[in-house]
């Protein structure tokens, strides 16, 4: 482990790196050693994509504490830009995803730069407005989005759809690394400072505007690429699905169920969300959103750190003391502290998180 540590940047935990590599290799090899039916294969592919999107949402919602209900705007922009590029140019699909992501990032900056000056519920309300306005514009911009009917992409071969599994895995892995970097880097410290007290952060030279803009652009790029990937996966997209409030809320739910502010939480939240959705949607199509709502209320009341908080409680019972970086976040600092029995070690401080 020491040898591994010597290869890593000083802020990277060798245990985390080893775990990451093991999981990555296992997921890479899974379809090669186990015969997965196309349905399961597709579910895993979608899960990887949503893990990436949830992590990107978490950068803003978890690291900065700015809960966005408008990320569907970037998801949709990325999806439709990608779709149009694939339909009208010879760009390779991965290049189209990247361009779609970049456009989504710029779009995020356009509405984010002014709205990120708002804090808490005011920002959340503003993002709802942005999301709905974008959906309406997209719905009536028929020449670009196909209107309410949406647009179809050429049907890919079965091999391509199989290959998307690995593209999604690489994408997710890259976003996990970026999340870890953001969390541990100087930017991450700045974000923590902004989350703790934006005025105090400004007093010590942390520019809230700059840091938040950077995070929103990065988040928009990743969510936009996810939208492009989604378009390639389903070969069909339409505005109310891509830009809908349900899409935005799904990213919030992933974060909250898993545990806002943590990498593991956002990833676990996405996994649980996709699995629950796939099973509930067929059996209880009317109820599944209601059940998510109940789950959301339950998490907020009983376990603000979500699934990751529960894991930490379990780990602590067997003597493990998670590091500060593992236990960041929660829906609200006070709520999290209260729910964890006032355990101060769960709320990271700048000192603890400093590499």
């Amino acid at each position: 482990m020491r040898r591994l540590a010597s290869w890593l940047p000083e802020w990277a935990s060798p245990w985390a790196a080893a775990g990451f590599v093991v999981v990555l290799v296992a997921l890479y090899a899974l379809p090669l050693v186990v015969v997965l039916d196309p349905y399961t294969h597709g579910i895993l592919t979608q899960t990887f994509m949503f893990v990436a999107a949830a992590l990107a949402w978490n950068w803003l919602g978890g690291y900065v504490g700015q809960i966005s209900f408008g990320h569907a705007a970037m998801f949709g922009v990325g999806g439709f830009v990608t779709a149009r590029l694939l339909l009208s140019t010879d760009l390779p699909f991965f290049a189209a995803w990247v361009v779609g992501g970049l456009v989504a990032g710029v779009y995020g900056l356009l509405w984010g730069h002014p709205t990120l000056r708002l804090r808490g519920p005011y920002f959340a309300i503003a993002t709802i407005g942005v999301g709905e306005a974008t959906r309406l514009v997209a719905t009536f911009w028929s020449s670009f989005t196909g209107g309410s009917s949406g647009i179809s992409l050429p049907i890919p071969s079965g091999d391509f759809k199989q290959a998307l599994y690995w593209y999604a895995l690489y994408f997710m892995a890259a976003v996990v690394l970026l999340s870890y970097y953001l969390r541990k880097s100087r930017i991450g410290l700045g974000l923590l400072a902004i989350k703790g007290d934006v005025d105090a952060a400004g007093d010590v030279g942390v520019s809230a505007t700059f840091y938040q803009d950077v995070v929103l652009v990065l988040s928009g790029i990743v969510v936009g690429i996810s939208g492009g990937f989604y378009a390639s996966f389903f070969s069909f997209i339409e505005p109310s699905d891509m830009f809908g409030f349900e899409r935005s809320i799904s990213l919030v739910l992933m974060g909250v169920i898993g545990g806002i502010g943590t990498i593991l939480g956002a990833a676990l939240g996405a996994v649980v969300y996709v699995i629950l959705q796939e099973n509930l949607i067929a059996s209880y199509p009317d109820l599944y959103l209601g059940l998510y709502g109940l789950l959301l209320v339950a998490v907020i009341l009983f376990e603000p750190l979500g699934l990751s908080g529960l894991l930490m409680r379990g780990a602590r019972l067997v003597g493990y003391r998670p590091g500060a970086g593992v236990a960041a976040g929660g829906i609200g600092g006070a709520a999290a502290t209260e729910a964890t029995g006032g355990a101060p070690e769960e709320e990271p401080t700048l000192e603890e998180a400093r590499p």
Binding site: G150, Y284, D286, L295, V299
Partner: protein
């Protein structure tokens, strides 16, 4: 801390139990293997319909049509495949009127439930999205709920539609109006206020009206041409434009919930036109209940089927009698087209004599089936992307609550009301 942990654990145990309960199958599970050439024990056909959500009413009408077709087929012993009769089962899921759900559930039906074939959902937008699953998985997908030509112009090989195109629907309505002009009942030239939903369905309708107007040599002029969003709640701004346009005819293309919402606001606004139509909508019993018979009188609609075609006997009479016996009411075109889509698939499976997907696809390409549609024969021509082509019938609501066929002349059972007598009063 232990107490706190147990409290959280109980929460998550509850959540996991909930998820496991959700995983438990609540609908009938089939185990037929698709894609084989051997005679199976059962043929499993998957479908989704909008049983809840915006399109719940027509979705449930289609369900009635599907279920009747399956029941009648199984009463006869099932499908004749390879000299044996095989029961056919429907695995139907609710897509909640949502495109993404329709796509996901179709994927699930094909790849997890291993259905042999797919029947389509209802409404153009849902079919347009869901049909990509049929094409991706190369499984025959027969739908009676998607009429826009855009669905069939994508070069897909596995998608078959039993609804004739919307452009033809618009043209048929214009032909009827043109006949009324020739008979001196409606002035010539006339102006049109044209509203269309912002979908490929609406675009087809618009094109049909616009092309006919352009070809009419000045008899028709579109003075208002506006689109609207699906599932809208407030059309007052749009209807203000209609009032300002002061057109003679009000031609709109809307789905059932939008028609009911828009027409309620149309009536409230005190609007009246010599001809009022909402495309294929207007005669639904639900609309008369929601709006009042006096407010839906004289609305004309062009549809793929009308119960009065049953007077010609044949499969129409058989369908109508069976429907009345099962449900105790008269069928509308929704149930008829659901029933006919299922029957077309059954016919193709029997013609192929197998559940091999490629063979059944070829049987659908070659299909020539005696049908309940107006011309009496259903085919899926290759040149139209496997979308059926047959004439529409125009029907109109009369004050006595009936909705007779008024056009074409050879099928008409009553004379239409033109101009709209309500405007005179």
């Amino acid at each position: 801390m232990v107490k706190s942990f147990l409290r959280s654990l109980s929460l998550w145990v509850f959540a996991v139990a909930l998820a496991l309960a959700a995983c438990a199958p609540t609908q009938e599970e089939g185990d037929a293997e698709g894609g084989g050439g051997e005679v199976p024990d059962e043929v499993l056909i998957g479908a989704t319909l909008p049983l809840t959500g915006e399109e719940a009413d027509p979705g449930n009408f289609y369900k009635e049509g599907y279920e009747l077709a399956f029941e009648l087929e199984n009463e006869d012993g099932g499908l004749e495949i390879g000299g044996e009769t095989v029961p056919v089962e429907l695995k139907l899921l609710d897509d909640t009127s949502d495109q993404a759900t329709a796509v996901n559930l179709a994927e699930r039906l094909v790849n997890r439930d291993q259905v042999d074939f797919l029947l389509g959902t209802y409404s153009t937008t849902l079919v347009e999205a869901q049909s990509t699953v049929g094409e991706q998985n190369q499984i025959p997908y027969v739908n009676g709920g998607g009429a826009a030509t855009a669905i069939y112009q994508r070069g897909y090989k596995w998608i078959f539609g039993s609804l004739a195109p919307i452009e033809l629907l618009a043209r048929t309505q214009m032909e009827w109006i043109s006949d009324q002009q020739e008979a001196g009942k409606i002035q010539d030239p006339v102006t049109i206020a044209l509203l269309w939903e912002n979908t490929s369905h609406g675009e087809d309708y618009r094109k049909g009206v616009q092309d006919f107007a352009d070809e009419s040599g000045g008899s028709f002029e579109v003075v208002l041409d506006e689109s609207f969003e699906l599932a809208g709640k407030d059309y007052s701004a749009l209807l203000s434009k209609v009032r300002s346009a002061d057109a003679d005819l009000f031609l709109a293309d809307a789905h059932l919930p939008d028609f009911i919402t828009m027409h309620r606001q149309y009536v409230t606004a005190g609007l009246c036109h010599d001809v009022i139509t909402y495309g294929a909508r207007g005669v639904e019993k639900d609309a008369a209940k929601a709006l009042g018979q006096e407010n839906v009188n004289a609305i004309a609609s062009a549809v793929w089927w009308n119960g009065q075609l049953g007077e010609q006997g044949g499969p129409n009479e058989e369908f109508i009698n069976a429907f009345k016996e099962k449900y105790g009411s008269d069928p509308e075109w929704y149930q008829a087209m659901g029933y006919e889509a299922a029957r077309a698939l059954f016919h193709a499976i029997e013609s192929a004599g197998s559940v091999d997907r490629e063979e059944v696809r070829q049987a659908l390409v070659d299909l020539q089936m005696e049908s309940i549609v107006p011309e009496g024969e259903l085919t899926f021509p290759e040149e139209t992307g496997y979308q059926a082509q047959y004439p529409f019938v125009v029907q109109q609501n009369l004050p006595d609550g009936s909705s007779p066929i008024i056009f074409p002349e050879e099928l008409a059972t009553a004379e239409g009301l033109a101009p709209n007598p309500n405007c005179k009063s």
